[in-house]
Every structure is written in C-alpha cells, then in structure tokens.
C-alpha cells in the first residue's frame, strides 16, 4: 500500500496560513480559476487546488508550489468567489507562509526596498527626466538619509526581516 499522505497531514495548516479561516467555506466551484489569467500559465495557477491543499494540510506540497507567484494580482477571483473566500488574499497568505518557512522564497525585491525605498532606481534617471522638463530629482526616501535610517529601523523590527537580517546587511 502506498503511504496515505492525508494521514500525515498537518491539520492546523489553515491556521498557519490564514487565521481568519475564510478558506474553509470554499466548496471547490472553480469560479476563481475560470477568470484567472495565470490559470493559463505553465504550470497553471489553480487557486482552488491551493485552497484544497491548505484545507487538507498538505504542507510539503504547498511549500513546493511555485504557482502562487505567477498571480497577476488582478483580484478577479476575489470579486467572483461566491463564498467570500478571498482567493487573492489567500494567494498572498500562501506566499507569506512559504517565505516564513523557507527563506529562499523571500523576494529579493524587499532587500532593494530596504536599501532605497524602491525596487526601480527612481533616483537614477536624472538625465532623461531633465530632457522631459521634469524635476531631475523626486523627493523620494533616499533624498532624506535620516528618514531612510528610521524606515530601516522600522522594518528591522519585523520578524521575517530580523530572522534573515544577513540578507539586508550585505550590500550595505
């Protein structure tokens, strides 16, 4: 007999992912998939299946899933779900759960934001801005070193960031 994964499942997984428990009202209707652009990705994002995985407690499978990261954040599923499961919020909650349980999931973009307030180099394209008649500099965070420091101290109080502070210190 092959092992039964459900017997070894983590039945509290839904609490770890989303305390509100909204996803327990999911009745697998697939409405969230039918309008989802990322359901056409390869492999497809099937938010219904992810909800099922969480409810059944299949944590190893959930940790392996790359599909939540293909979501285009359009919130169509959120609008259409008849059970108010808030599938888009669930998608973000799964990403957070993955980031908290596997540091390689932590998006490198948060390190950029920590260092300069932004992912794009807003402060760098001064020449182009000038040619368009724009102020060369915007009043972004990097213009105020004192404030940038406060911003970083605020972020450092956060669990995930504190636990992985090596990511934020390198490059300083």
């Amino acid at each position: 007999m092959p092992p039964n994964p459900l017997a070894q499942a983590n039945h509290d997984l839904w609490k770890e992912v989303d305390e509100s428990g909204e996803l327990r009202y999911c009745f697998n209707c697939s409405t969230c998939i039918s309008g989802c652009p990322a359901s056409e990705a390869n492999p497809p994002l099937l938010i219904r299946n992810l909800a099922r995985m969480v409810i059944l407690g299949l944590e190893d499978e959930l940790l392996e899933e790359d599909t939540p990261w293909t979501c285009v954040t359009c919130s169509r599923c959120e609008e259409m779900c008849p059970q108010d499961v808030k599938p888009f919020e669930l998608c973000l909650a799964i990403r957070r759960w993955q980031s908290q349980n596997d540091e390689t999931r932590i998006p490198p973009s948060i390190v950029e934001i920590y260092h300069r307030g932004y992912t794009q180099a807003v402060e760098k394209n001064t020449e182009q801005r000038k040619s368009l008649g724009l102020p060369e500099k915007l009043p972004v965070l990097t213009e105020y070193p004192e404030e940038l420091k406060k911003f970083q101290e605020m972020l450092m109080k956060n669990e995930v960031i504190k636990e992985n502070d090596y990511m934020f210190k390198s490059g300083e």
Binding site: P37, A38, E40, A41, N42, D66, W69, T70, C71, V72, T73, C74, S75, R76, E78, E79, F88, L92, R95, R96, S99, Q100, I106, P107, S109, I110, I113, G117, Y118, T119, Q120, A121, V122, K124, N125, Q128, R129, L132, G133, L134, L138, P139, V140, L141, E143, Y144, E147, K150, F151, E153, M154, L155, K157, N158, E159, V160, I161
Partner: protein, 293 residues
Amino acid sequence: MKYGLFLGCNTPAIRPDVERAIRVSMPKLDVELIDLEGYVCCPAFGTFPSTDEEAYLSVSGWNLSLAEKKGLDLLVECGSCYSSLSMGREHITHDEKKKARVNELLAPTGRTVEGKSKVRHITDVLYNEIGCEKITKTIGKQLDGLHAVIQYPCHTLFPHELVGFDSPPARPHILGNLVEALGAKVDHFSCEYTCCGGAGGFHRSSAIEAKTFAQRKLDAIKQETKAEIVVVSCITCLMHLDNVQKELNEGNGNYDLAVFDYNQLLALCMGFDPQQVASICAIPRDKIIARFS
C-alpha cells in the same frame, strides 16, 4: 482641488513622459498636485505583502501618513500602487488591532496613521471630480474621427467594495467616457474586459503563455474594431501592451497599435510638447502624434 501625488516607481523610473503628462495636464483642470517627501514603494504585492503582513501594513502606513499629515487624499495612476495602498488602508482603518500595531511601528519614526487620507485613482478623479464636460470644454474635441479601444485596469475594478468606482464592476465604462470626451470613437470588442496580463510573475515565469494571452486580445482588436490606439490608465498596462507587441513582432507578429496613457492623450490635446509627454514607446506613435502638429 489638491491631491498628494503618488507616482510609484515605474512611472518616474521607466516612463517619466507619463509623469510629465500628469504634471502638466492636471493643473489645467484645476487640480493641484503636491509631492510627498520621503515616500516609498506602495508596497508592490510581490514584495512585503508576499513576505509578512506587519511589514506590508507598516510600509502602507508610512506612505499614508505622509498624505495624512498634509491633509490630502492621494492621487495614483499605477494600478498596483492604487490597489496595494487601498487594501493596506482598508486593513488599517477597519481592524483596530492592526491599526494599533502599525502605529506602534511608526511611532519611533515620528509618524502616525488614522486612515483619513483616501486613495483615489486618477480616472476616478477625472470622471467624478472634474467631469467629461469640463474636459471637453478645456480642450475641444481634438481626437475627432480617431478610433480607440480601452484597457480597463483590473486593480481599479476588483474587488469593487474596496477599490471600485465604476459600475457595473465587470462592465466598466468610465475610461471609455473620458476618451470620448476627447472626441475619439471608442470601439468595443470581445476581449475588452480581460486583464492585460502584465503584472506579477505570469509573464516572467511563462513567457510563451503570457504572450499568447496578450495576443488573443490584440487579435480581437485587429479583427473586430477599427482602433488605431489603445488607451490605458495604469503604468503596467501601458508598458505591457506596448512591449508585448514588439515581442510578438520579433516572432512573426505584425502589431502596430499605439498605446497611450489617458493623461498623455489629454496633454497632447491640450497642446503640450509630444516630445515631453508621449515620446517613450516600443510601438511608434508618429501617425497619431502627427494629428497634433
């Protein structure tokens, strides 16, 4: 009318001609735009909202507090910024525990957040505060005879209780009406209300599938309409629908739909220099720009 201008990062860093268009066109309609000192990433959904909720809300709170201190609502063009800030604000205003925690995190930075500043999308302000009539009066019907199609930004539609201002949410019309106020004829087509597919990891992780997804919309526009331009009001829709045509043309595609942000068209109709307000693009806009010379 005064708003705190929230530009996000893609507009000032990659498409600053859109920033220029917004900065010159809005004052002509009596909207004063105030810059916010020390603003940061909205934060984008793929960043802190995908890592930790407290970090997410403290960054939303940081941005909202800047507007709140000046007693201003925020004006946003980028769909992702608009949606992330709106959702962040919702969590902060409707959950006392989260509000208290965010304020605890903000306190050492000398900031507080109540949620008094609203987050407004630029098309909401153009339609509901300024109105089509005033727009037409200000510019005249300059685009007479031009056929256009609309890309409605998903982030301004769903979930409608939180971000919406158009109705019905799944059959929006506001951006179309704004384009008609410039004199253009808006054509309708079968994929009108689908997503552009440009945000998040879809295009990055599944380039072929994401291109096919966009191609379906572009083919529908070509086959079902007389449109020469696509009008958007979201920096992601703008960059994606423009760039994806070029990508498809590098294969065996043949797409030449000029893509404009609404404020770029508005600024052109107001007589501003095309070089400054509409010069950055992948698919040439020369034919359309020539109408204004």
